[in-house]
Amino acid sequence: MKLGYFPGCSLLGSARELEESLMLVAKKAGMELTTIPDWNCCGSTAAHNLNHLLSVSLPARILALADKAGMKEVLVPCSACYNRLAMAQYELLENPDLKKEVSEIIEMDFEGTAKLLNVVEGMEKIFGEDSVLKVEKPFEHKVACYYGCLLVRPAKVLKFDRPEDPQSMDRLMKKIGADPIDWPDKVECCGAGLSVSRTDLVAKLSGKILESAVKRGAEAIIVACPMCHSNLDMRRENIEKAAGKKYSIPVLYLTEAIGLALGLSEKELGLHRHLVPVVFPIREKKAEPEKAESAEESAGAVEE
């Protein structure tokens, strides 16, 4: 199996563990990911805030390069990049005048034939019905699947899952033995692009999401997007300061949770890169007899 691949800038830096875990799971499944040659930044929130043509042209170059490389399907693990690429592709295919103008700007013919896959769709392919992958260590935790905004909206363009109560990640989590909770904040916004310029607002919005997941008994939040991860994980101190309380709930990329269930190690999946340690409350019945003592100790520590 082969797929085209667009990593996006954050996977080279703050979201390295998303790439590390995705690559390992893909390799285990025998899926070959071919990176789009000489790819550029999609322009992200900044471009569409300041300059419409730029926000379409930057993704158009990426899509044209994918077409040139003969890629039929391209996996775009970052939800923000996925959204920008899909929006640009939709707009350009709808509007022939814009397509002509943008082809001139990027000095390439834009066809836009490659089908874009987000990370959940990618994992459905890699870890689907006929997958060779076997669950070795069931991920037996109560999880809150947090989809965020960019993965499901606008539905007209992305045509992925249900925009208000998506289920695809929940299904993948059930498959690895997790127990996904029903909760109302699956597609709420974490504050995304205002993370640096208005950290106060991001702390408020992300805090509401953490509180909602914790209140309903989740032991981990499962995300698909580097922006959601950085706001819920890296911004944890800001959230706690704004909320006036502590939250210990870890935030995992779905690729990391699947990797753990497939028997891959925490280290190779990049879990040590999180700012919030990935530890779970240990339930007594799960503790193996010889480890019962240490399990009780850590359970005590979590209760504090």
Binding site: C9, N40, C41, G43, N51, E104, I105
Partner: protein, 191 residues
């Protein structure tokens, strides 16, 4: 003149229609967008009121909409358009209003930092082809000295977790990217 009433003048209403293909007249002010907007409470005017200002097109109101903080707080999370019974593409209109506000020099004073951040994000993209997180933060702090001490505690943590790459990635097509920026800037400024 024939056609849509919005097409007959240079009001903000017709500029929006020209720039986005969206008509603010579609909105019947149900308020669903403002109810679902995650930041409506932080805005000076909730999203439905911004649309109302465009609909009315009275003297002063257009400038108020373009000078609002709301248009810069909008996260483009697309919740409003997902729930709008008339499918008004408000995020698209917000993008247009931001750019129009820059063109007319009407940006809200409190939005300056948000704009500085967007510009700091795009600069390394223009010269290297990709975003560069370390450079972005340094650049933003240089543009906005008040923020110098913000995040100083998180940066070393990120570094030791291997989350910061210290050198920017240079792509081969830097020349193309530079030209894409130049052309897009030139064309948009003329609109």
């Amino acid at each position: 003149m024939e056609g849509h009433p919005e097409d007959q003048d240079q009001s903000l209403m017709s500029r929006v229609r020209e720039g986005t293909g969206e008509s603010a007249y579609k909105c019947y002010q149900c308020g669903k967008c403002s109810a679902g907007c995650p930041l409506a409470l932080e805005m000076d005017y909730p999203p439905s009121q911004i649309l109302r200002m465009i609909q009315l097109g009275l003297p002063g109101l257009e400038e108020k909409a373009l000078g609002s903080l709301s248009i810069w707080l909008c996260l483009a999370c697309e919740t409003c358009v997902a729930r709008c019974p008339k499918e008004v593409d408000l995020p698209k209109i917000m993008d247009f209003l931001r750019q129009e506000s820059l063109r007319r020099g009407l940006t809200h004073p409190t939005a300056k930092n948000i704009i500085k951040f967007h510009r700091a994000f795009l600069d390394p993209v223009k010269y290297t082809g990709r975003a560069f997180e370390v450079g972005l933060i340094a650049d933003y702090k240089a543009r906005n000295p008040i923020s110098a001490f913000q995040d100083v505690l998180i940066a070393p943590k990120m570094f030791f977790k291997g989350k910061l790459s210290l050198a920017p990635h240079m792509i081969k097509g830097r020349g193309e990217i530079g030209r894409i920026f130049e052309r897009a800037m030139k064309k948009e400024s003329k609109k």
